[in-house]
């Protein structure tokens, strides 16, 4: 493993499998009534959130606490972060506090990269979502979830067909998923209106399509991306209704999926927009499970980056 996790591209196949296998092991241990492991005792993990995301922050916080790390939550939202220098000032403050790992969420693409490579801090940097760039731990938890349902919970995702639908242009989840899923051997198809696919998407390790219905029959996992309603004001699509009609997952479309296929969403959902309520709540929807798996995967990432003591070294109840 590299020292930082900034992009899903930082993980080669062995790294990715190591994270997923470690996450599986940690999930098992924490399921066995042992809620807390002593592995990161005395280590400090800082959650540095420049952008609101309660769900991601709570997930990282739970992961760090279950490994007995000291957790500092630093929410810079609302303070004067409009001018960039506060990223540097904040980093220097965290360095003075002796942060072993900094989990950063930022609205500016590349902010975690900047934090990791500017010489401001010594510790590991984990990207918890940066602008429209990447969200590597989300892709890990998605892969973990797919592996459970589609590959018996072990190995890679060779040959599994994953369809990712929606606002790819602005989605850090899509970028990280394309990279990680390709590393794990899955066949990814991005489906979106042409306006919401980035220039150069043809160079990505995936296929693209404008037609959702054409793909559902050949899909093992379909992942619906959140689409912000405001996008229509910038003419990315004409109206919510038209978007929903062409690219939303409703019950009729869900019925075209093979029986074993799962429905995923990174949250938060726009029910009625990209996903119908009855689909979100259907038995094949694994959206709630994704959240639970997020904690295990983030435990594994922190554990591996911080070089925690061996698992099973002794646990406490």
């Amino acid at each position: 493993m590299k020292r930082h996790l900034l992009s899903a591209a930082d993980l080669d196949r062995d790294d990715a499998l190591l994270v997923l296998d470690t996450a599986a092991e940690l999930a098992q241990i924490t399921d066995r009534a042992v809620k807390k492991l002593p592995t990161l005792r005395g280590r400090t993990v800082v959650n540095l959130f420049f952008e609101d995301s309660t769900r991601t922050r709570i997930s990282f916080e739970a992961a760090a606490k279950r490994l007995s790390a000291d957790v500092i939550n630093f929410s810079a939202k609302g303070s004067s972060v409009s001018k960039g220098e506060s990223l540097k000032d904040t980093a220097l403050t965290l360095e003075a506090m002796g942060a072993d790992a900094v989990v950063i969420r930022h609205s500016s693409s590349g902010a975690p990269h900047r934090l990791a490579h500017s010489g401001w801090i010594q510790g590991s940097v984990v990207n918890a979502g940066d602008g429209t760039h990447e969200h590597p731990t989300q892709s890990l938890l998605d892969a973990f979830t797919m592996r459970r349902h589609l590959a018996g919970g072990k190995g890679d995702l060779e040959g599994r067909r994953v369809t990712i639908v929606g606002d790819v242009l602005h989605s850090r989840v899509a970028r990280s998923n394309v990279l990680l899923l390709a590393t794990l051997g899955a066949e990814v198809t991005l489906v979106a209106p042409p306006t919401l696919l980035p220039v150069g998407v043809e160079t990505w390790p995936c296929a693209t399509s404008y037609d959702l219905d054409a793909h559902l029959k050949h899909t093992d996992a379909v992942m619906m991306l959140r689409v912000q309603r405001e996008r229509m004001n910038a003419a990315f699509f004409p109206s919510e209704r038209e978007y929903s009609r062409r690219y939303g997952l409703d019950a009729r479309r869900m019925a075209q999926l093979p029986d074993h296929a799962i429905v995923m969403h990174p949250g938060p959902m726009n029910r009625g927009m990209e996903i119908a309520a009855e689909v979100a709540d259907a038995p094949r929807s694994v959206i709630v499970e994704q959240v639970a798996n997020g904690v295990s995967v983030r435990m594994a990432v922190l554990y591996l980056l911080l070089g925690g003591a061996n698992l099973g070294d002794g646990t406490e109840a």
Binding site: S109, G110, R114, H133, T203
Partner: protein, 439 residues
């Protein structure tokens, strides 16, 4: 004007055979065979191995004064210019207040005169406050002491087609030129880098080539229609080159400039997310760089212009999207052009003199600059050492700011001396003279 006389011995004029130059009373008094010049009491400079070019002329410099003296002043910018081998710079109008009145351009012109290191020639804004809606008093700036001939809203595009047409027409009355920052604003809202596969991967909003090319195409058609002179600032794409080449071929009176950084650097540097590489127009692809070099070599692009854009540390030492756009250029321009154009065999030193002095002076109607190195001509000269590489150290720059993208990079040539009307502004690579010393 200085009474001192300088004899520059064994200098290669424009890279040709060695000669001696005698500088006296602000002009080149004599050009003789090497070792033949004799001048009583003159200061001798052994220039064996050095190349003499006419003093460089920069059509595009941001000196930041008035308003952002924390980034640069006319004086520090003048020092940077002299150190880079320049004897004249055109100071862009996007200061605070904007240089859109005779009073402001005269103030900048006077500050340049007081600094005394290069001729600071103010550019006037095309529209009031760079607002794009109402023409500034172009005639008043033209007839002011600053004698403005170049007008630009640089930093912003004159995007309203009617305003652009009127400006092109109006400046004909005093032989002016509109220098357009070609950027279609709607296509580039919040744009962060060149739009292409890399911007998609990095998750940075794209600045598409078409946003430049659409304006360049429109403007050459407007200039053609009204029979006016047009200058295109910092051309950055292969597509713009093609439009300008075609326009020139059918006789449109259009000129163009390219920055040193667009001749050397590519968008690949953005993968570091280091804002020192954030610039407007953005760094482009390798294919664009190749097209720009070819266009400068064949004369489709007339001039190199630095777009020297100083920014204080806090505007660059931050995350990418919060950072200011722009990079320093004056002190590295000659070295970068040497690397991109001379080392590659695309231009010889006479060609460099043409693109960095002769043509920019003609475009800006600056009569005392960009002249031949011959007896009776103004003694505006730069002496460079073509065999002395120089490693760029941001802390050693004359500019008040340090945002150079070339830190640690070794450029193939060094500026040894610069003369402004016979008086040295740089000797042995160090800035001399100017207001600070004379006071």
């Amino acid at each position: 004007m200085s009474n001192d006389t300088y004899v520059i011995r064994h200098v290669s004029v424009l890279g040709g055979d060695p000669a001696d130059l005698v500088l006296r009373d602000g002009v080149i008094a004599e050009v003789t065979a090497p070792g033949a010049a004799s001048a009583e009491g003159a200061t001798e400079i052994d220039a064996t191995g050095l190349v003499a070019l006419p003093g460089l002329v920069d059509l595009h410099t941001h000196l930041r004064e008035p308003g952002r003296e924390d980034a640069e002043t006319v004086e520090t910018g003048s020092r940077a210019a002299a150190a880079g081998g320049f004897t004249a710079v055109f100071a862009m109008a996007n200061t605070d207040p904007v240089a859109d009145t005779a009073g402001t351009v005269e103030q900048v012109w006077r500050l340049g005169h007081e600094a005394g290191l290069v001729d600071v020639q103010p550019v006037g804004a095309v529209t009031l406050g760079l607002g794009g809606r109402q023409l500034a008093e172009l005639g008043a700036m033209a007839t002011s002491a600053a004698q403005v001939r170049v007008f630009s809203d640089d930093g912003r595009c004159v995007h309203d087609a009617v305003i652009m047409r009127r400006a092109l027409e109006y400046v004909k009355a005093f032989d002016g030129v509109v220098a357009q920052h070609a950027q279609e604003p709607r296509l580039t809202e919040d744009a962060q880098m060149n739009e292409g596969p890399l911007s998609g991967v990095l998750g940075l909003r794209g600045w598409p080539a078409v946003a430049e090319e659409a304006i360049v195409a429109r403007d050459v058609l407007l200039a053609e229609h009204v029979g006016s002179r047009l200058h295109v600032c910092h051309v950055s794409t292969a597509g713009s080159v093609e439009i300008i080449r075609a326009a020139k071929a059918r006789g449109v009176d259009v000129t163009a400039e390219v920055t040193p950084h667009h001749l050397l650097l590519t968008e690949q540097l953005v993968t570091s997310y280091d804002p020192v590489y954030k610039v407007n127009p953005p760094l482009r692809s390798e294919a664009d760089v190749a097209a720009l070099r070819a266009a400068l070599a064949d004369g489709t692009i007339d001039a190199v212009a630095t777009d020297h854009a100083p920014h204080p540390v806090e505007d660059k030492d931050c995350e990418w999207s919060a950072a200011a756009m722009g990079m320093l250029g004056l002190e590295t321009a000659l070295g970068v052009v040497a690397e991109a154009m001379v080392s590659t065999g695309l231009l010889d030193w006479a060609g460099v003199a043409d693109r960095m002095s002769v043509r920019p002076a003609r475009i800006g109607r600056l009569d005392g600059h960009g002249r031949p190195i011959a007896a009776g001509e103004p003694a505006n000269l730069v002496l460079l050492d073509p065999t002395a590489p120089r490693t760029v150290d941001p802390a050693a720059l004359q500019s008040r700011s340090h945002n150079t993208p070339y830190a640690g990079r070794t450029l193939p040539v060094s500026v040894v001396a610069t003369f402004l009307r016979g008086r040295p502004t740089v000797l042995d690579g160090a800035v001399v003279g100017g207001a600070a010393v004379r006071a």
